[in-house]
Symmetry: C2
Subunit: 220 residues, 2 copies
């Protein structure tokens, strides 16, 4: 998809790619549509918002919306994507994090749950949908820029690998298994909390309890 459009005159070729007008406009428009969509979702709910309305508010035709978000649910997948991106932006690249393995994982979890807690309604939608679409082939479409990647899984994986190198994690543990285990536990807990409600402390406790199990095991 990314046809690396940095065909600018070779005079300043060495400098940052400095996206051409076309690419820039594409991104701006994408953002405009995205924002229009979520304004509406928050105002009247996801199901109740029609793509027509999104198009109208973003001042484009309906077809254009589908150029950028090939399914209505693509908007929701984009949220989860946003969050994991924000996590990396605000906390920096995982490789640089300090502390024990456990601390690093907890840091990531806390960051994400805070985002969820700040906007439970939207999070519920987004996480529910993302859970469903995550591995599904539905998201391929016309334009779609960067593939929504499961950055959080990547984070767990990376943290665990580091932990294994530093000797905190047993060497015979398959880091991939542990990473997906943690990830699925986190999603499940968060989704359940978003669905059923409950105190924020309860959410933190549950996540913490599950990390305990993953670190220490349940066997007597």
């Amino acid at each position: 998809m990314s046809k690396s459009a940095d065909q600018h005159s070779r005079l300043d070729a060495a400098l940052p790619p400095a996206l051409g007008r076309r690419e820039r406009k594409k991104r701006e428009l994408r953002r405009k549509i995205y924002e229009a969509a979520f304004e509406l979702f928050l105002e009247k709910g996801f199901e109740e918002t029609t793509v027509e309305e999104i198009a109208e508010r973003a001042d484009v035709a309906k077809g254009t919306v589908f150029n950028y978000f090939p399914r209505k649910t693509s908007f929701l997948a984009a949220v989860a994507d946003d969050w994991t991106s924000r996590l990396v932006e605000e906390l920096g690249p995982v490789e640089g994090w300090s502390g024990t393995t456990r601390e690093k994982l907890e840091r990531a979890f806390l960051f994400l749950t805070d985002l969820a807690v700040q906007n439970p309604g939207l999070s519920r939608l987004a996480f529910f949908e993302s859970l469903r679409h995550m591995h599904s082939p539905w998201n391929e479409g016309r334009i779609t820029d960067e593939e929504p990647v499961r950055q959080f899984l990547a984070i767990s994986r990376c943290v665990l690998r580091q932990g294994q190198l530093s000797g905190e994690i047993r060497p015979d543990v398959e880091p991939e298994h542990a990473a997906t285990l943690i990830e699925s536990a986190f999603y499940r807990t968060l989704v359940h909390w978003l669905q059923e409600g409950g105190s924020v402390d309860g959410l933190h406790d549950e996540i913490s309890g599950k990390l305990d199990i993953i670190f220490e095991g349940v066997a007597a």
Copy 2:
């Protein structure tokens, strides 16, 4: 089909409810629609099958289909439900299972993965949908009989409680956390396998590896 005349008089009314003709027909029709639907899903896929076609094959009107399955996706939720029911039917009530906690869990997992392996395409659909609808309020509709319950979660919970009583599981472990942890790990693994494909052995290994982690922990 077999309307064996048991429209008994009220003389033996105290005995088992012995559903009247109406109730019996309701169940028969529900089954007929269900079967028509899955014949079609298997022939041409879920998305490609229209409710109109299901109605046609079951020889009822479209509206009737929606009486029994208020959403098209209700069919899929029904599958997952079937499976957990079959598990209980074929392996008996969990309370009676013998073996270690670990063995019991593995037995349940194997049973379910076998069902999934037998029909990966349908399983993928069904599990995705069940994942989505599980806690959702969408399934209430006109007629809908028994609520789809997360029997598998119930099984994990029960097995773990037993294990705690028998001393196999540490007493300070919150069984609810462990149960949902196991359940989410299982679903995630199965869904991922259904999506990405791979060998059946690989699937078993991954589940087994995750159980190892849950039992023994990852900490050095």
